[in-house]
């Protein structure tokens, strides 16, 4: 055997799990992002009492694939006066940043590409924020007023809300005491509580800031259709546009994963420390089997043969997955033990991520878009002070626990009262400020359009 081959084999033997995870992420994320779009459209339709996409596949289940094919064969237009290189580069940056930051996310006890990176959560937050360059450069390179206004809005928004998100992360990190993704989850296992319950204000702050960071409604000012056509994406078409879209949805998955890891207990099942609740472990397989049964019931009612075959396929997939979940635990012997843990961990992790994204969508369909000054005021006058006070109060409560022997929940209550008191003060001050600002504004000029005058 040649030495090169030998070296390659050793390399593969050492790194095969990481390589497998990386390939899985890169392969699966575009598909998942496409289906998140479908879920979003379906949910929106449901909340507006419509049916949503129904034509392609049963209940529109093949819609994402049709969309992808359409975007691939669409004409790729580059504006005459655009900066060609930057125009070409920008969507790639957006997508790459989102995919790279996924490398440090622990989807399960072992499902993580960069496992020994000690600054995991900073890596995810920092690298995913580089996606902003894609938006800014794309907006600039298009050489279009709408695009550049979208890019400038996006920059201002991200710089403002990144601070709030960072401070919210600091609150969570104070509790975990580590930046490593897996150690954060372990800390929540040891503390016997998700950090959501220990520092709810930080979770709330992160929720709002992460919606703003992913440029989603009610914070979607960079691409506000009614004002800016499509903001920074105005000049993009075909697959470049799809790359932006994929980047945005991958970014959603990234922020949801960060929130899940830090505040929602990562891959841990609910009540991981309680022994008599171990039957919760049966939930994944039951859940999948239930979906499978539903598909079988619906299969007979499909209008076309292809559709019912498709439904049977989905049902079989669900049954297979459910069976593997059910059999993995009792059948697993030593080398497969970690596979089982990974399977269950990934299920719970993805379920929580799904819940978080559902919250995103729900907010999108519920709230109207902010005005830009409202957005700035919310970020700088309310969220950042709130997060800052939360960090300080949490630090004080941690000292109270360790030095003065306070009960944990008492200390948490103290933090909450401090933070909420400050929040109320801020809101009142902000209201008064807004009132004063509106009083000093010059009265709006009333212009009467009189076409017949003179």
């Amino acid at each position: 055997m040649s030495p090169t081959l030998q070296a390659l084999l050793t390399f593969l033997q050492t790194w095969w799990v990481e390589l497998l995870c990386a390939v899985l992420i890169v392969a699966a994320v575009p598909l998942v992002a496409g289906y998140v779009v479908l879920v979003e459209r379906k949910l929106m339709a449901d909340m507006q009492a419509r049916l949503g996409p129904m034509r392609v596949g049963p209940h529109g289940l093949l819609q994402p694939i049709a969309d992808a094919v359409k975007l691939l064969i669409k004409e790729d237009i580059i504006p005459e006066n655009a900066d060609k290189l930057v125009f070409w580069l920008a969507p790639v940056i957006s997508m790459t940043a989102a995919l790279t930051s996924m490398g440090a996310i622990a989807f399960g006890p072992w499902f993580q590409v960069a496992r020994d990176i000690n600054v995991g959560i900073l890596f995810v937050a920092g690298v995913s924020s580089l996606g902003l360059f894609g938006i800014v450069l794309g907006g600039w390179a298009s050489n279009n007023h709408y695009s550049i206004i979208g890019a400038i809005r996006s920059t201002a928004q991200l710089v403002s809300y990144e601070t709030a998100a960072g401070l919210a992360l600091v609150s969570g990190l104070l509790l975990s005491g580590t930046l490593n993704m897996r150690s954060i989850v372990d800390a929540q296992f040891k503390d016997q509580a998700w950090f959501l319950f220990l520092t709810p204000v930080a979770f709330f702050t992160y929720l709002v800031a992460s919606i703003a960071e992913t440029n989603r409604a009610p914070f979607d000012l960079p691409e506000a259709e009614s004002e800016l056509v499509a903001g920074y994406m105005t000049e993009y078409s075909g697959f470049r546009w799809a790359l932006y879209f994929l980047g945005e949805y991958a970014n959603m998955i990234v922020v949801a994963s960060v929130a899940t890891t830090l505040f929602l207990g990562g891959w841990l099942r609910p009540f991981p420390n309680v022994k008599w609740l171990a039957w919760i472990d049966a939930f994944p397989s039951l859940f999948l089997v239930a979906i499978g049964v539903y598909c079988v019931l619906r299969a007979g009612k499909q209008p076309a043969l292809v559709q019912s075959i498709f439904m049977w396929g989905v049902a079989l997939l669900c049954f297979g997955l459910g069976l593997s979940f059910a059999l993995a635990a009792p059948l697993s012997f030593a080398p497969l033990k970690f596979m089982t843990a990974g399977l269950y961990g990934a299920f719970w992790f993805l379920l929580k991520v799904g819940g978080y994204i559902y919250l995103f969508m729900w907010l999108r369909f519920t709230l109207p878009r902010f005005r830009f000054d409202q957005l700035m005021r919310l970020g700088w006058h309310i969220l950042i002070p709130l997060a800052l006070v939360n960090v300080i109060a949490l630090g004080v409560s941690l000292i109270l626990q360790s030095e003065f022997g306070w009960n944990r929940w008492l200390a948490i209550l103290f933090t909450l009262i401090c933070t909420l008191g400050v929040a109320l003060l801020l809101l009142r001050w902000n209201d008064r400020h807004a009132e004063a600002a509106s009083l000093t504004l010059p009265p709006e000029e009333v212009r009467v359009e009189d076409s017949y005058a003179g």
Binding site: V119, L122, F123, G126, I152, T178, N180
Partner: protein, 174 residues
């Protein structure tokens, strides 16, 4: 072997894009190459197992400062400014500073050769096995050994921030 390949890759990218950054006419292109330089430097930090420096470089310089740079470049018309006298003078100042820095670097290199065991000493590379958490070590250093400089730096930054706010604030009474 792999270590030096990674190092030379990042170093090459850093130097190449630094050169391109200085020579580009378009300010946005310069900014993009500056970003590449900073990212490549971050890569070198990572290769040296300085994880915290790596991510601090990315978050602060690339994700923070460069975003503001680009923001300003997009808002300001640079072609108007270039013709101003104060900016034309800048070229000569820059040449002078560059020469001074080159001279200083040369002196350091020469002196380091002359004094054995001092100056540019290349230590044995860190092992690839797990090291002590980098962030914790940095934090311990900052908050024990270097507490006073750290606090002074923080106060300076705060003063700069307050100064910027005062300068930027619109005066209604004027």
């Amino acid at each position: 072997m792999l270590d030096s390949v990674i190092f030379y890759f990042f170093a090459g990218v850093a130097i190449l894009s630094a050169g391109l950054m200085v020579t580009r006419r378009n300010a946005i292109h310069s900014a993009i190459f500056l970003i590449t330089t900073l990212l490549a430097t971050a890569g070198i930090f990572l290769q040296l197992h300085a994880e915290f420096l790596f991510i601090a470089q990315i978050i602060l310089y690339v994700g923070g400062i460069m975003v503001l740079f680009i923001f300003v470049i997009m808002l300001v018309r640079l072609d108007v400014l270039v013709s101003r006298i104060q900016f034309r003078l800048q070229k000569w100042v820059a040449v002078f500073v560059a020469l001074a820095v080159t001279l200083e670097a040369g002196v350091v290199v020469v002196l380091a050769r002359r004094m054995p065991g001092q100056g540019l000493l290349i230590r044995a590379t860190a092992g690839t096995e797990r090291l002590e958490p980098n962030t914790e070590k940095l934090a311990t250093g900052l908050f024990t050994g270097y507490l006073l400089p750290f606090e002074i730096a923080s106060v300076l930054l705060l003063v700069a921030m307050v100064g910027a706010v005062v300068l930027a604030k619109k005066r209604n009474d004027a």
